[in-house]
């Protein structure tokens, strides 16, 4: 059975099915880091997505990208591992069309999972950060079912 | 005295002249590795070319000599970081998933009428992998 976690933003919660076939090391690092509570803000360069910086812990010790992508499909959770120019990891979650970019252009991230159906409230909460500003994202292990 | 390589692809023969003056170390290593037998497959990122991987020549530390990004038609290109040798029949560029544009060594050029050989390379897209053998041609 696929691993999953629960994500909460501004009171809206949803499950994320993790893709440990595509990104085994990144998924393992994410699970090891739980629970997480991080400041979340709207992306400046990457479109309809939000991001949170993750300093310390297993995610900040990640090495290379796994199954790298540029496009972050709506509902997808992705991780940018540390790089020499950007120590610490970055967690991203898209609510619409999104593409990971920096000021100097397109870059790649590791896709680690996607929101399960019925996450409309969470997607709306993410979208709202564009107007309402910074909020908090909580990630924790999902209770079994 | 030019180093020549005889290439037999699914029964069709071509000869490539190696660019020893402009890529001396790459030619030296490649020459020492011959003969090579492999399966030629169509490239998946680089366009109109076929490729083989020569694992014993893969070396991430090897500098790229006679650098090109766009493969010359009828050219033999080599990417040392992958040990990848490509035979270009049309428009092609050194590319992979991480690099929309990269560098390769222009290692050699097919001599004479290589049309039948390049048609076989092109056919790997529709027909799948084909056996290929590279061996030293008599030095002349």
């Amino acid at each position: 059975m696929a691993k999953s976690i629960e994500v909460t933003v501004a009171g809206a919660s949803a499950r994320v099915t993790l893709w440990d076939d595509l990104a085994p090391k990144t998924v393992a690092a994410l699970l090891e880091s739980l629970p997480l509570e991080l400041p979340l803000q709207h992306c400046k360069w990457s479109g309809s997505a939000c991001f949170a910086d993750v300093s310390g812990g297993a995610m900040a010790a990640l090495g290379a990208l796994e199954s790298p992508v540029v496009s972050i499909y709506p509902g997808v959770l992705a991780v940018r591992p540390p790089t020499p120019g950007a120590p610490g990891a970055e967690l991203l979650i898209a609510y619409g069309d999104a593409e990971y970019r920096w000021p100097d252009g397109r870059r790649q991230v590791t896709p680690v999972g996607e929101l399960e159906p019925g996450a409309r409230a969470l997607l709306d909460a993410l979208a709202a950060t564009a107007v309402k500003g910074r909020t908090t994202i909580r990630l924790r292990a999902a209770e079994g079912r | 005295m030019a180093k020549l390589v005889r290439i037999t692809l699914d029964g069709v023969v071509a000869v490539a002249r190696l660019h020893e003056e402009s890529a001396p170390e790459t030619v030296r290593r490649f020459w020492a590795a011959l003969p090579v037998e492999a399966t030629l497959r169509h490239v998946r990122w680089s366009g109109e070319a076929g490729y083989i991987l020569i694992s014993k020549l893969a070396d991430k530390t090897q500098p790229i000599e006679n650098m090109v990004s766009f493969y010359p038609p009828a050219g033999v290109a080599f990417r040392p970081e992958h040990g990848e040798m490509a035979f270009c029949y049309g428009q092609a560029q050194a590319r992979d998933h991480a690099h929309p544009a990269a560098w390769a060594c222009h290692l050699g050029t097919l001599e004479g009428d290589a049309g039948a050989f390049l048609a076989k390379v092109k056919a790997t897209c529709a027909e799948g992998g084909k056996p290929i053998r590279l061996a030293r041609e008599e030095e002349r």
């Binding site: 790298p68 593409e99 397109r106 | 998946r44 897209c125 799948g128 992998g129």
Partner: protein, 135 residues
Amino acid sequence: MKKIEIEVGGVVAEAELVEDRAPRTTASFWDALPLTARLTHTKWSGRAAEFTVERLRSVTGLEHRVCSIYPGTLIARPDKGEVLVAYGAAEYRSVLGVEYGTRIARLVRNQAAMLAVLDRMHDEGDKTITIRRIG
């Protein structure tokens, strides 16, 4: 959400159309079904195969633009009448470099077997793809 059945090399998988994100393109694709086409490995876009759907040329512009093609995802480029399906790392590219397509569908059942048969195209060459509506 509309579903389709995809058959390649004796393997049958099910996919759902991303109608909410790409209504015009998925509608045009749905109208083109059933279809049988030659499936060819891509030369520029990585671990993906492509086939032609001429009917898509009636769609103007892109919806839900993506360049990365996740494994098991289908994207369309209507102006070229082209659809790609990825079995591994893939990014929509041409001789000009990175381009964009409309994401239209994703495999939801028997994905692993379908990706395996597509993976074999690198060694085996072209195959035939058949796509039918479900329901």
